[in-house]
């Protein structure tokens, strides 16, 4: 990385100046010389087992595998010759010695790397007459199907499982010609990310929730952004006839920040889109205590507008609250804000967010890290949070930074999270005392007190400070929702007070929970007078009506079950009937992420496109369209002409960080655009905040037990939510990521995907 020295390499008679030490296979490919390969996978340990990438290098005996050769000065390389082609054809013939030749029944047919390779390097006939190895098909888990005889032993799956996920759940067993990819006892005991499915070049590992339902060439593909967490993975939605069939991140279809990585939610939790329980029409409850009755859009909009007007006239504009959601697009939240301010004129608007990043944004003195920065960081400080379960892409980048990049990782957490296996230092603090660490970082004076409150040795804090001091390269500061407003502020100011050195740079990586937590803050929806719980507390009192887009969080409703009933009028836009819609007077069916155009802003500050893959199901409409219709009915035409692009243009004009952004500039997912956040300078009032933080830490009891148990893999990932609950496989996993009673037989091993798990009877929409 650091050796920028360039050397001369001659490839097929042409000279190139390239970086010394770069993998030859990459250099050849970048310069337009195609090299076939199976086992090579960028940024994974080298395998060199497929022998497809052979080249001739002068002065070296025999053909060489270009994936393991690094460029040195004066290297003369030939990538194409009769000799090389013969060797490659030989390799393909060997691969086919055991591989069945029944592509028409294989689910990978049409996007199989082996199939493509055979078109170019395969022979016309098979010379092997020996019996092929035979293994029966099986399921490694409810979502991973396995057909071992198709394996070509490239071991991408095992490396991805180990290096990306740190799971080591799938490995190669047996030896020689009988080597086979598998797991102990046949059960895949892991977070079920399905990345092994994604990277498998053949049909060995397959998506059991999708296979044999359609063919890849029948799918319409749309590049979009994941709707589950704040990492904002880029994915390719495959749809057929208005139904979302699958989600993949194969690099032939999409090339985003996540490469081919997705987590279980991104890859498998999409069936909610076409689920039969989706709300079909607008619903109106004409009188309190009555039933929700299906209505036409015209009727529902007219009814709602009239009611809102009535309440505004009777109790004033501030009696109406507007609640957006960090799950919705920037467009939806922006239009909601505009509706609140311009149409209603209320100061009561907010979003149903788990915690606010406002103090951080107001005081940040260093830029945001992108996921690429994290991968190449030299020091990573993770305060609170649990990225492996809540922001899986971040966790993967952190793990690779440590394992493949030699970064130092410090984890400050009250839970011994799994990621601590990778940590250079783990500060195991008492629950709720993460603030104390921030206080300690801000100055030496409070070390002893902070250590006492956190329940760690004083000596454990100094090495952390030294590590940050001595870093040559990027220091990434990550933090979760555990930090208080004051701690967020102080942390945000920290880089400013420590100051950059020539070879050291600070970067921030907050870990909010939702796909558009950043965006909902950026458009300003979080700036209202009250937050979500505040609005609920005022319900029935100063707040008479609520307009909620995307449900409220269970955490908000906990202990406030009565609040919604106290309202005079509740309007909800939702995908499904929820606890919130149960009390609604009007319910609008909203369109899901697969049915709309828009943008999400991820935790890198990257503004990424959401693209429409299928038409809205039933009578659903995009959230911002519903809001515009309401505005229109209340006499103000937003004049977006049904175009999300027009909404975004307006965001580009009004939101400072998004200045000048337009959809065409966000076209290419491989070159994502980062919002331009204003860096704050050193703030004088910070001294006060620091004093407050000190008081806060002083008030901590410094007693209480630590959490000693590392949580199960998937304890957050497999949680049943409104959306994930629509996937049968999640229920199986949530029942305890079932491990076999004895290691050899898994209870799920017997569950075939046919017995009630197939989606086809549950399809809604046509």
């Amino acid at each position: 990385m650091t050796t920028a020295e360039s050397v001369k390499v001659t490839i097929n008679g042409q000279e190139f100046q390239v970086q010394k030490g770069a993998p030859l296979i990459d250099v050849c490919r970048e310069n337009g010389f195609a090299i076939p390969s199976f086992c090579y996978y960028a940024d994974l340990a080298l395998q060199a087992s497929c022998r497809m990438c052979l080249v001739r290098i002068e002065k070296m005996p025999k053909l060489q595998t270009s994936c393991t050769i690094t460029c040195t000065d004066g290297m003369i390389v030939t990538t194409q010759s009769e000799e090389i082609e013969k060797a490659q054809r030989g390799m393909v013939e060997f691969l086919l010695a055991n591989h069945p030749l029944d592509c028409p029944v294989c689910d990978r047919g049409g996007e199989c790397e082996l199939q493509e390779m055979v078109f170019d390097w395969g022979g016309l006939e098979e010379r092997f007459t020996e019996r092929k190895n035979y293994y029966p098909e099986k399921f490694l888990s409810p979502i991973v199907a396995n057909d071992p005889q198709r394996c070509i032993l490239c071991k991408r799956c095992t490396r991805v499982c180990d290096e990306w996920m740190g799971e080591d759940a799938i490995e190669a067993g047996g030896r020689g010609a009988n080597t086979v990819i598998g797991t102990f006892g046949g059960w895949l005991n892991c977070s079920q990310c399905g990345n092994c499915i994604e990277v498998c070049p053949t049909g060995t590992l397959l998506d059991a929730t999708y296979r044999h339902q359609t063919r890849p060439w029948e799918l319409e593909r749309t590049v979009s952004t994941c709707t589950f967490c704040s990492d904002g993975c880029q994915m390719s939605l495959g749809s057929r006839a208005g139904e979302l069939m699958r989600v993949v991140a194969r690099d032939r279809y999409v090339d985003g920040i996540n490469g081919e990585f997705l987590c279980i939610k991104g890859r498998f939790a999409h069936p909610f889109v076409n689920h039969e329980e989706r709300l079909r029409t607008p619903l109106i409850r004409y009188r309190k205590g009555g039933k929700l009755i299906p209505a036409t859009w015209d009727e529902a909009i007219r009814f709602t507008a009239a009611k809102l007007q009535e309440i505004k006239d009777a109790h004033g504009a501030n009696s109406i609250g507007v609640v957006g959601s960090p799950r919705l697009t920037n467009e939806a939240n922006y239009v909601l804000l505009k509706f609140a301010r311009e149409v209603i004129g209320t100061e009561h608007y907010t979003a149903s967010e788990a915690f606010s990043l406002a103090p951080f944004f107001k005081h940040m003195t260093a830029p945001l890290a992108t996921h690429k920065d994290i991968r190449h960081a030299k020091t990573i400080v993770l305060i609170g949070g649990e990225p492996e379960e809540l922001q899986p892409l971040t966790a993967k980048q952190v793990r690779q930074a440590v394992r493949n990049g030699g970064a130092k990782l410090v984890i400050i957490n009250s839970v011994p999270v799994r990621l601590k296996q990778q940590a250079t230092q783990f500060l195991h603090v008492r629950p709720g005392t993460e603030d104390a660490l921030v206080l300690a970082l801000a100055g030496q004076t409070d070390d002893a007190m902070a250590a006492r409150k956190m329940g760690v040795e004083v000596g454990e804090i100094e090495p952390l400070r030294r590590m940050i001091d001595e870093t040559q390269g990027n220091v990434v500061l990550m933090f979760g929702g555990e930090l208080s407003t004051e701690a967020q502020t102080i942390l945000a100011q920290l880089p400013g007070s420590i100051g950059d050195e020539e070879n050291r740079r600070f970067l921030f990586h907050p870990l909010p929970l939702f796909n558009n937590s950043f965006g909902v803050h950026d458009v300003g929806l979080m700036d209202g007078k009250l937050n979500a719980t505040g609005l609920l507390d005022a319900a029935g009192d100063t707040v008479r009506a609520l307009y909620v887009a995307g449900g409220l969080l269970p955490a908000h409703l906990q202990g406030r079950e009565q609040a919604l009933q106290n309202l005079d009028f509740l309007v909800v836009q939702e995908l499904f009937a929820t606890d919130t819609t149960a009390h609604a007077d009007v319910v609008f069916p909203a369109a899901s992420f697969a049915e709309i155009d828009g943008t999400y802003t991820n935790n890198d500050g990257l503004v990424q496109r959401v693209r429409q893959s299928i038409p809205p199901v039933h009578q659903a409409k995009p959230d911002w369209v519903i809001t515009s219709l309401l505005a229109d009915a209340l006499g103000i035409d937003f004049n977006y002409q049904m175009s999300a692009s027009a909404v975004f243009r307006e965001i580009g004009e009004h939101v400072p960080a998004y200045q000048g952004l337009r959809y065409p500039l966000l076209k290419d997912e491989s070159k994502p655009v980062q919002a331009k956040y204003q860096l704050a300078g050193q703030r004088a009032e910070v001294a006060d905040v620091l004093a407050e933080l000190r008081q806060r830490v002083e008030r901590m009891t410094g007693a209480g037990d630590k959490i000693m148990e590392t949580p199960e893999v998937g304890h957050e990932l497999f949680k049943i939510g409104t959306l994930t609950g629509k996937v049968p496989q999640f229920h199986l996993l949530a029942a305890g990521n079932p491990e076999p009673p004895d290691v050899l037989v898994s209870p799920l091993y017997q569950i075939t995907i046919d017995s009630g798990l197939r989606r086809d009877t549950a399809i809604a929409g046509d």
């Binding site: 102990f184 049943i720 029942a735």
Partner: protein, 187 residues
Amino acid sequence: MSQQFTPNNPLPQEAKVPVEMAVFSLDVEAEIDRHLAKYPVKRSAILPLMFIVQRERGGYLDPPGVAYLADRLDVRITDIWEVATFYSMINTEPVGTYHIQVCRTLSCKILGAGKITEQCSTRLGIKPGETTPDGKFSLSEVECLGSCGTAPMLQIGFDFHENLTAEKLDKILDTCERGEYVFTVKG
């Protein structure tokens, strides 16, 4: 103050079935500790430990044995599986009292290993990879055992039987059948 996110669903852990872990006598534990002490990295001791566990758990790595190994060596059960299936000396399924392992690699093959296996097969009524119903014999074909100079050869437990002929093999199997076979090398 910022709101705290409190997860409202209980952790779905109760449903997990815990794997019972093998327990060994103090002597065995001491033996294991001796091996572990030899390596700077714990998991390097995987092979010696596997032999011990296999010996103690009735000749193969049963699930509690595997759970024990994974725990002791700090590796995943899949890592254990990977190593265990690579070596023919490690069994992942129960084997008979007399585990007949016929070498099938080049030297032995040329000098008639095929016939040796066949003779075992017909006499015992099992194919390679199988165990007789009475649990007395298991038959397997293994790779070179480093005794090529005395091919063809087979191994029972860890005992070598070299320069095999049909008569010799019959005699060996006879002693086994009568229960008079004495293991010379202890596993």
